[in-house]
């Protein structure tokens, strides 16, 4: 790890200021991505701004027909939260399947989506459930948030405050995990809402995306065999030693079906 200065502000404003004050400053949430990256000397922030002292970033609440999760809420807290479990059990289950128990005890929603790892789980939920990301500057719709590989719509100096997940009628997440890292090779969140069906996919491509063909098919018939005729193209999908693009394309179909079956209960 390279040397850096450490800050632990106790308000959002102070954090934003500290972030703006130095071009090479970085936010530190759960550190489950940031610290391993720094240990391998792949990141060299001048300053680390630890968000753990800011109370308003943490916790879960209900807001109308949505569940709002603070950016600093850990995966374990989301998984165990009563509101999440009763309103969007698929989200609780997703959180419970991230990494391992120790990672879940520290890693946060905000850190996960800000990092936008192509293999991370939460992006499937944000996209699949049609969430809205609230930052210290604005609100960003799910469809606009993930821009590319490790790339989001967040601007310099902008930080995630919370994510608002509309409560679906039914939803489920199915994950096919990477054998070594246990991130998602493919993860599919399927949600049926008043407005239609959303299918959010992570792991398969450089960034989380919606599978509209599946959404349309499921809107007409929310059942696994509705997906039968759909073949997912391997074009543009990720391929590596653990899964070729073609295999990932196939798994998108399998996981989507499994998610539909689970969502139907």
């Amino acid at each position: 790890m390279y040397a850096f200065n450490y800050h632990r502000p106790n308000s959002l404003d102070a954090a934003a200021q500290a972030l703006a004050a130095n071009e090479d400053a970085k936010l530190l949430a759960g550190g489950q991505t940031m610290l391993p990256t720094m240990k391998q000397r792949l990141a060299m922030p001048s300053d680390l701004i630890d968000l753990s002292g800011i109370a308003e970033l943490r916790g879960v609440c209900e807001d109308g027909d949505a569940v709002v999760v603070g950016a600093m809420t850990t995966h374990a807290e989301v998984a165990a939260n009563e509101i999440v479990r009763s309103k969007i059990p698929a989200l609780a289950k997703l959180a419970d399947g991230i990494g391992d128990p120790q990672v879940r005890n520290r890693g946060t929603l905000g850190g996960s989506i800000a990092n936008a790892d192509p293999a991370a789980d939460y992006p499937a939920a944000v996209v699949g459930l049609g969430a809205t990301v609230k930052t210290n500057k604005r609100e960003i719709a799910a469809d606009d948030f993930f821009v590319g590989l490790f790339e989001t719509a967040l601007e310099p100096g902008e930080l995630v405050v919370s994510v608002r997940f509309p409560v679906p009628e039914a939803a489920a997440y199915a994950k096919f995990d990477h054998p070594a890292s246990r991130y998602a090779i493919v993860g599919v969140m399927v949600a049926r809402t008043g407005g239609g069906v959303r299918v959010g996919i992570t792991g398969a491509a450089p960034s989380a995306f919606r599978q509209t063909e599946m959404e349309q098919a499921l809107a007409g018939n929310f059942a696994p065999d509705a997906l039968d005729g759909i073949s997912v193209s391997a074009d543009g999908l990720n391929g590596d030693i653990h899964a070729s693009a073609e295999y990932r394309a196939h798994l998108v179909g399998v996981m989507a079906k499994r998610a539909v079956i689970a969502a139907r209960g």
Partner: protein, 155 residues
């Protein structure tokens, strides 16, 4: 330099640290608590797991500064009044260790499991151990040890 203060195994400590000091380095190098091990640099092996405010966390993926004000329990602090914690006793009784390197993290992780789920199934135990790698035992006797510790602790 930063000053960090925490309670480690029931004892309050305050030390000056370079901000880049990891909790595991703090424990091993500054407090000489070498029972917490380092087995990887990608936060996956779990040799470094300790309890922070009662929850299991990877001490290699946490700055000492992030544990400021926290209660930390390491493997050295698990036995109370000279008596082994039931999880420690079960690991010995059921041969849940060979070289012993993964053992401290494994035991602490298992202690956290039973706090959350006092009666886990074999499957739940195996899934919980996702973040703890052991190269020696094939996990067979680790799972056994945790099952027995769960029984002992419930009765």
């Amino acid at each position: 330099m930063l000053t960090v203060t925490m309670t480690v195994n029931g004892q309050k400590v305050a030390k000056d640290v370079d901000p880049r000091t990891l909790l595991v380095q703090f424990l091993r190098e500054q407090l000489n608590l070498t029972g917490t091990h380092v087995g990887c640099d990608t936060s996956q092996c779990g040799a470094c797991v300790v309890l922070v405010d009662g929850k299991s966390m990877k001490a290699c993926t946490m700055l000492a500064a992030q544990a400021d004000g926290c209660e930390v329990t390491t493997i050295e602090g698990l036995a109370k009044n000279g008596e082994l914690h039931p999880m420690q006793a079960a690991f010995k009784e059921h041969h849940g260790l060979q070289c012993g390197f993964c053992t401290p993290g494994m035991i602490i992780s298992a202690v956290d499991l039973l706090q959350q789920n006092p009666d886990p199934s074999e499957h739940e135990i195996r899934e919980w151990l996702e973040g703890n790698i052991c190269r020696c035992t094939g996990y067979h006797n680790i799972v056994k040890a945790i099952q027995h510790a769960a029984q002992d602790m419930r009765s």
